[in-house]
Amino acid sequence: MTDSSLSKNTTGRRPPPPTERIPVLRWIKENLAQTPFNMLVTAICLVVLFYALPSFLEWGVIDATFFATDHTVCREATGACWAVIGEKHRPMLFGVYPYEEHWRLLTAVIIYISAVIMTMIPLFWKYRILVPVWLFTLASTLTLMWGGVLGMPQVDNSQWGGLPLTLILFSGTLVIGFPLAIVLALGRRSTMPAVKAVSVVFIESLRGVPLITILFVAVNVFPLFLPQGLEFDKLLRVMVGMAIFFACYQAEVIRGGLQAISRGQYEAAEALGLGYWQTMTRIILPQALRISLPGIVNHIIAAFKNTSFVLIIGLFDMLTATTAVMQDPEWRRFTIEAYLCVGFIYFCFCFALSKYSQLVERWLGEGKKF
């Protein structure tokens, strides 16, 4: 402590100069070259980047074709063919929906995404705002997609596809799956042995099998379960299958939150004379859901990504539509570019959701004062 900054004024000595005066060099020293080992790591990273980046840039930017209406232009170039997206983006995004009616889907998607964004902003977290907003969204998007009124020709749901179908599957999974998840989680925590056993067997057996097999059941086996003459729409069956799968995972996350609630909360609720459902909906679940929020959002993101599994059973979501449209022999060799574009769309949705969940966690953390 003798020659540290504490004594600089009394002795009149100047403080020691900073290790590096030029900010850039100082930053490099503090972040890239603290120790000899770190210098080596930096060097290895630079060598890898030096070999990888130029060839990527060459393929993706320098030699790439960005605009072309003819596939022969792309064939002559050695780089990527981003023109394929300009050429095929309509069927990629909207599937086999009639071409002239695509504006309806675009409007529906915009309305839906606006409603989602509104729901994410705390300013609008009031029943009298969100309930009308979602009723309007549901009514307008479904009207736009079905048509049959206001001079719009009717489009059967077997022709729905692309991004709107992905969003429908996602919303359906959440709307059906979330209440089921809460029921399953409460069932697993129940004191009634039969209820608990049923929930445990249901959750664990479905968590142990791949989503594909559940979709196979929804498509191939479920029709056999119904009495003759009764039929359910394939889209609905698949949606219910995905919702059940989602619910089993979500139930485990919610159960974690339920376990973290102390006994005192239950006892206090009982002392107030609240019944089981009142205790759960007003005291326990609000706290449990808040505790398990990070896990809940993770599984919501997973549900969004899982919509792509319908590729296997031939529902025309965004990925299936892209795969189908890229069978076109003229553009076929540029499938990679189309997949990268679809991947980017998925990335945007999932990345935005995960960043948003981090934001919400921070808000909830601020509000948590005991």
């Binding site: 056999l224 899982n306 795969t323 990268l340």
Partner: protein
């Protein structure tokens, strides 16, 4: 309710319908009855529907000839073999890709997780780009993306050569392997014996340390114990080393070890996807160890490598192991995406069986039961491991 005090207790309060125990019993009875009715009606409907469509039921199809070929099989198989054998081929293929997927995803995930908490800005940035990109894209897209990429690779004649004797092309990857030799089983046995030896060496060293306080290094002697015996056996057999190098004959390679494009694409896809999740788990595990623990370890004069081995890792592992288990399970289940790119895994072969025989219920039941058993066995193994690393209250 101000009159409540003057009112006599209502009759219904003593009624059995208001007793908690009776209600619980009644709810459960209703649930069981409802489920039993549902099961019975589903069973009846399935039977009736199958009879009407003229589809056979039962497990007889397992012993009839399948009539389809399978691209790659770990056991002898031909189209004349039974559906049962075809499904076993599928199960083995699933286990094969899941086994290698778990190994590679663990290596990739641990490396990227450690890289993310590195103080080196460049390394941690590269690692976080990898994590964010790979985990925010559906695994289905990962798999079909690599399935498409591998078919765009050059033909065998213009194959890429990463090192001498190995070729990467649109028909997969071929690698040179040592030719079979009588020494190989003995080398393997020596390797296993070495691992068992390390296990006992560690236990002995630990007991000795606890008794006497004397530190016995295990790491380097342990590594020597694992690798020295196989090398010694190899030398004792006269160091046999003949490489079976793949050679281009006509349009294809002969010899060496061949990995099909479907296998490679599936493996790369599920490894890249799961690796990103494991990286996040590892990062969270390392960051969960309180800084005070490491400072305390430094204060009592532990070496840097000891801090990692005796302070950081044991605590981080407790956070890392349980979620990693569920990642292993999800990787195994995601290996069913082989059906998308034509890898003959269980779901692919089960699906073919379903389409050929029409026996959807049985075919899907086989798939579900197999995956459930795999999941349960991985869970049990990892629970045992978890018990080993868990906090031991003494």
């Amino acid at each position: 309710m101000k009159v409540a005090t003057t009112m006599a207790p209502r009759k219904t309060d003593e009624s059995i319908f208001y007793s908690k125990a009776f209600r619980a019993l009644a709810y459960q009875a209703a649930l069981c009855a409802g489920l039993a009715f549902l099961a019975w009606s589903l069973y009846a409907n399935v039977n009736e529907n199958l009879a009407r469509q003229g589809i056979a039921t039962g497990w007889g199809f397992l012993t009839t000839s399948s009539g389809f070929d399978i691209g790659e099989a770990l056991i002898e198989y031909s189209a004349a073999d039974t559906y049962g054998r075809a499904l076993v081929v599928g199960i083995l293929n699933t286990l094969q890709v899941a086994f290698f997927g778990i190994i590679f995803a663990t290596i990739l995930g641990v490396f990227m997780g450690v890289a993310r908490v590195s103080r080196n800005w460049l390394l941690s940035t590269i690692a976080s780009w990898y994590v964010e990109i790979c985990r925010n894209v559906p695994v289905v897209l990962h798999v079909i993306f690599w399935g498409t990429v591998i078919h765009l690779l050059p033909k065998p004649r213009q194959a890429l050569i990463p090192f001498d004797g190995a070729y990467i092309m649109n028909r997969g990857v071929v690698l040179p392997v040592p030719e079979a030799d009588p020494a190989h089983p003995w080398i393997g046995a020596a390797f296993v014996a070495g691992i068992l030896g390390v296990f006992y060496l560690r236990k002995w060293a630990q007991r000795r340390r606890e008794l006497t306080g004397q530190y016995i290094p295990v790491l380097w002697p342990g590594l020597a114990l694992i690798f020295a015996p196989p090398v010694a056996v190899w030398l004792a057999f006269g160091a046999p080393l003949v490489w079976d190098v793949p050679v281009l004959r006509g349009f294809n390679f002969r010899g060496g070890m061949e990995l099909s494009p479907e296998f490679i694409a599936l493996l790369v896809g599920i490894t890249a996807y799961t690796g990103a999740f494991i990286a996040e788990i590892v990062r969270a595990g390392i960051q969960s160890v309180p800084a005070g623990q490491i400072e305390a370890a430094r204060a009592i004069g532990l070496r840097q490598s000891f801090i990692m081995r005796y302070v950081t890792m044991p605590q981080a592992l407790r956070v890392i192991v349980p979620p990693t288990t569920s990642q292993y399970l999800s990787l195994t289940k995601n290996s069913s995406l082989g059906v998308l790119i034509g890898y003959p895994d269980l779901v692919n072969i089960g699906n073919t069986t379903l389409n050929q025989t029409g026996q959807a219920v049985e075919a899907i039941a086989v798939m579900m039961i197999v995956y459930l058993s795999i999941s349960v066995s991985i869970s049990i193994c990892m629970n045992i491991y978890n018990r080993v690393v868990a906090i031991k209250e003494r």
